[in-house]
Symmetry: C2
């Protein structure tokens, strides 16, 4: 099983279609030792499948990120991506129902990068949790991604 096999299964499990494009994007990200840029993902896939489009790369990445399969790193204006380390992750806790939801580090990464860029302040975000109100108890939009990240109780 390749390094991204689990991610592929997660895709199917969450009711998303397993298209060649998605597999290719995932495998490019997986076979890279470090993080990859969108442009590099696209050009590598294009070498094999020339019709691959920018928009598809972005849409795929966006999906993978929402599912927590891929982690986003801000690097000077552009974003870079890598397979999520299964270890570190954070939580959103609902005040209403007490439910806990996984929050992939990528979401905090954006916040962190902003503080560093604007203030030179390096926040310590390990062991970080956000309190609030989840979708079913009165939050706004419900995304399909929310489903899989739910942990009971």
């Amino acid at each position: 099983m390749t390094r991204h096999g689990a991610a592929i299964e997660a895709l199917k499990r969450t009711g998303h279609r397993l298209t060649p494009q998605r597999v290719m994007v995932l495998s490019v990200i997986a076979e890279q030792p470090a993080h990859v840029g969108v442009e590099e993902i696209q050009s590598r896939v294009k070498a094999v499948y020339p019709y691959m489009d920018q928009a598809t790369v972005y849409r795929t990445i966006h999906l993978l990120k929402e599912l927590g399969l891929v982690t986003e790193i801000q690097a000077g204006g552009a974003s870079r991506y890598e397979l999520s380390a299964s270890g570190r992750h954070h939580h959103m806790v609902c005040r209403e129902c007490g439910g806990a939801f996984d929050l992939s580090p990528s979401y905090l990464e954006e916040f962190r990068a902003t503080l560093v860029r604007d203030f030179g302040f390096e926040p310590d975000l390990d062991h970080f949790a956000v309190a609030g109100r989840c979708a079913s108890c009165g939050g706004k939009r419900v995304s399909p991604a929310a489903a899989i990240s739910t942990e009971r109780k």
Copy 2:
């Protein structure tokens, strides 16, 4: 004294130049009852000073935001702005020197909007503080803006 008089003084006090363009942007934001979009700011200023450029509006807004004089609101792809309510603000606390820095709500706003959009999760960010390491104790970049937001002890 106009509603944005204090903001103008803050600009000078922090060593930035008081250009007509900056004053105009500030006054457009101030005279609006609710928040304003970039496009509206530009067109209102252009009515008086036709050479006003998009880039200048963006650069000015960016500055005002860093100084905490203006608060950013995310609204469906585009950003809107309003004079900062002096009341609500958050803190960054340095583990090293114990120093506290003001963090304008706009920074958390971005984070909040993301959680709402992707998960329907409405975080409660009032009374919110971030721990970490400030610029002088080992953070990354130092921006002039950091200076004014410093509070002793």
